[in-house]
Symmetry: C2
Amino acid sequence: MHISKKLAQAHQSNKPTFSFEFFPPKTAQGVQNLYDRMDRMHDLGPAFIDITWGAGGRHSQLTCEMVNAAQSHYGLETCMHLTCTDMERTQVDDALRRAYKAGCTNILALRGDPPRDQEKWEVKEGGFRYARDLVKYIRTEYGDHFDIGVAGYPEGCDDHRDVDMLIDHLKEKVDAGATFVVTQMFYDVDIFLDWVKKCRDRGINIPIIPGIMPIHTHAAFLRRANWTKCHIPEDWYKALEPVKNDDAAVRAVGKELVAEMCRKILDAGILHLHFYTMNLAQATRMVLEDLSITPSTSGLALEKPLPWRKSLGLNRRDETVRPIFWRNRNTSYITRTADWDEFPNGRWGDSRSPAFGELDAYGIGLKGTNEANIKLWGKPKSLREVTSLFVRYLQGDLDRLPWSEGAISTEAESIKDDLLSLNKRGFLTINSQPAIDGASSTHPVHGWGPVGGWVYQKAYLELLVFPSIFKTVIERLDANKNLTYYAVNQKGELLTNTKDEGPNAVTWGIFPNREIVQPTIVETVSFLAWKDEAFRLGQDWSKCYPAGSSSRKLIETIMGECYLVNIVNNDFHQTHEIFKVFEGLEARDLDLVFEGTEASDHANGTYGTREVLNGDAPVAEVEKSIANGEERKVPFPTNGVALKS
Amino acid sequence: MHISKKLAQAHQSNKPTFSFEFFPPKTAQGVQNLYDRMDRMHDLGPAFIDITWGAGGRHSQLTCEMVNAAQSHYGLETCMHLTCTDMERTQVDDALRRAYKAGCTNILALRGDPPRDQEKWEVKEGGFRYARDLVKYIRTEYGDHFDIGVAGYPEGCDDHRDVDMLIDHLKEKVDAGATFVVTQMFYDVDIFLDWVKKCRDRGINIPIIPGIMPIHTHAAFLRRANWTKCHIPEDWYKALEPVKNDDAAVRAVGKELVAEMCRKILDAGILHLHFYTMNLAQATRMVLEDLSITPSTSGLALEKPLPWRKSLGLNRRDETVRPIFWRNRNTSYITRTADWDEFPNGRWGDSRSPAFGELDAYGIGLKGTNEANIKLWGKPKSLREVTSLFVRYLQGDLDRLPWSEGAISTEAESIKDDLLSLNKRGFLTINSQPAIDGASSTHPVHGWGPVGGWVYQKAYLELLVFPSIFKTVIERLDANKNLTYYAVNQKGELLTNTKDEGPNAVTWGIFPNREIVQPTIVETVSFLAWKDEAFRLGQDWSKCYPAGSSSRKLIETIMGECYLVNIVNNDFHQTHEIFKVFEGLEARDLDLVFEGTEASDHANGTYGTREVLNGDAPVAEVEKSIANGEERKVPFPTNGVALKS
């Protein structure tokens, strides 16, 4: 959405809004950390974020990537900065094209600073000298697609201190097609408000967004103020000077000062605040909380139009349906479906088209280096040690599992005991949701969609089941008329009690004066695409460990043997019923330790370890119901098994 | 659906099914009566019905019309008879084309009887001599589109008594492409079963449907048995002879005999019974009830896939959504949307295409002659007398109103008192439904859709509101955040508190392993189309009475003055809340009698009567919120009003 439209809406509802500015970090780890921070800062409810353009365009590729990630994966309305300095026209064209493809609709057009090694700079081949030229060019090339912001300098800029002349320049940028103004940082509200008045008098009628620099440390405060030559009111010095060596005290005092400044701005009727976060969350969050304008402090819940985070990628804004399977793998889902023409579409069920992108084409396997993952998950040598990871994850003591890119959601609270019990008995739970029989759409945990509605869910459970128990599980599933299920192993042998391939809506909402919204579904084709990914993630995990090692063999065996089973309880009044299927069942040999080749020559046969873990071989009846189950009909060898007592 | 497929499904579930045969009546009134009967007999749950072909093709147009009505309006799977006798090829082509267009997929191909005035008959230009030729032709022209039935003669036919030779003919018809057999009537089950065995031995393996003639009167029983030369078992004569002069006793005894015969057939594993109803319901229903195979006697509810009766018209079988407005005007809705390409479609909201057929193009105004309608509704002279018609309708004492083509549904029971109270206070209720917060899909009154599901409804109310009360009503509606409404008068002045034109789902169902189904909606464009029809029906009603008469003026005034208001309570947990909007409100001058020109020269001014009925003129605030409301700003004249006491 255009920023100017967002501002108009906020103005209409008389509700303060704010935005965050980030810049491309220097390292890959820094980028990942910033993504995680952006993801968390989403919950503060920014109206939009900015990604700055690397000075001289050096980080331009990264800026484009970050704009795409912010839009598509984190669902953050993003404004991409773009500068004239050191940019050829083809580079500008490329950046605009990439922004367009990312679904980005907002550009902040800047002249930019000259490269660090030059005091003056020359216009590049076909490039632009002034921001107004860039504004004109974007308008010419893209019409009204982009909302175009420009910079305002209440206290002059680097090479021009004549404020009135700069207002003339600003007027030219507006006349060239700019639709909003973001100011340079300032600390003196009177200067800012005076400058706004001058702008208005000069006929600049587009929204003006004040740029706010929260105070992180005393040194940075002085350095930035000095660099931008902005006036620091006398009382700010007085307040900060006494505590300047105590960072915490500086942040606390700084927060008070900045919040007070923001209040003055809001009182003057300017309802949007733009924060220069410097890629840090704390100082900005403190100011917002002091102002009571975050969801947790304002009493106004974060707008959550759907149960999953909306992507703002190109053509994705109207996306309304997703399979439940990628619930904990949002990035993967966005990536695998990036080439779709429409969302939702009929391609899940259309075998003629490659519905979900190939796993390898997108590099969407397990996140993190082997070392980091081993550090995170240790070196499990028994099923018990694997299940304990799942238990820790459910208890909130582990931030991610191979199948879940983020921490456990609060939604699982009501079924946590059931899930813990399952995992402790050797059923590894991959995904789940409790049943919801009409919660308010504003419910703090389960709510989504417009106010005044009711949301519903069918209980869902997805887990890994060992063959020794599989037959009993299927029998119990078949005996319960409320349950529908799909079970599939790594080889793709599928078992289901559903009769057709159409979607099963497992989350839906009823809203005033609307059609029913049904944003989460279970269905066959997408489950089979997910199955490949789910087993692949396990394989990736096993490959974190050296070939022949206990952990690799253990995890390989789990992935090679288990069925991935998903179950829906179609009676959405029942939350715990789905767990009764597993009552009294437990995986065998939970504590049997797998021994790697380093320690024993005997443990190198897959069959050996497999037999140990499974206990009984799967029975013939189950085998028959699965296509191409021939391998299993070979009795497992009973020799060659190496165990530690 | 093909009859042979229906039979296969019924066979698989081992559940007896049955069908009814009707013939085209001689008079228009007879056709209307038969339609009403077919509509009622739908509730007995026939698998399909047959419409016979007028002998010699004389009633052929009517047969085609009836096939279309049965398929489209009454949702009855229909088999059209088609004969060779007296039919040119172009007539056959025309009949098949019309059957196709009606969505009919079943044809019974017959040779037919010669015209009454000829003992032998000649093949017409390009026509067909034998049924097998007709079967072949249909297969050639339409491939597998039509399921094709042929006649079987267990005791010979008119001009051939050699049963074995007739079985040879039957085999030829089967070889030509027939897919099921319907037999001539018979009363001797042994003869029939013996004949079936012969057919099977002869290699005729398609389903054979026995034709059953229930006994209406003794004379008809003998005449038909004699005409078809079928054998009547001795005990049948013995049982019927003693009671032959008592029609009721004949039917009772005949019912026992025919039911016993049906039981023998069912016991022999032939699970479908075809009844020659002779366009009468009673004798057939008695047999079915004796066999306990109707929905009310079998304990198996009538399948009701959606809350409204599905149309089987061409392309309509997958129709899943309808506006609620035509709930009591099914025929009109089917007719007005007959030219749509798909169901549902986006045309409700597409202003470029004529979404709903023009009123006049389809002749879908008020049903019945003026005389019949006056007989039904009397000559109301005051609002009280009009409301008393609505009260009688709600109490089940009146079969139809101008806005409801059939009797009040049992669904209204839970809000009957609310509706009665409204009407007694002068609000004429046009349409309504109670809120349902998750009833079982097999609920006898509210249930629909597959078993194991839950159905929901938002409370809905549509009624006529006089301007004197309108402002208060709108104020109360605006004050209740759960209610959305549309109000429109005859001139098309629309008032609504809805913000977009998208549909509001007011009926929906949640089913195992399915998407949410939302078959009934409220939305703007269709409401405006319905508004024209609703006001037109009132006008049509007024025109049943002579110009200048009290009744015409009264009804014209009501239609000219009232707003048609629809209200949805988006909180589907609340049934009675919607009626609180009208608490303490009453139309003025309920008992004021309108006087016609015959009785008084004074009562000829529209303003006069309008003023009387409305009491206060509408206030300015309301006026402002309605576009083009200028006329109303002129104060009503206070003179020229003619009243009785």
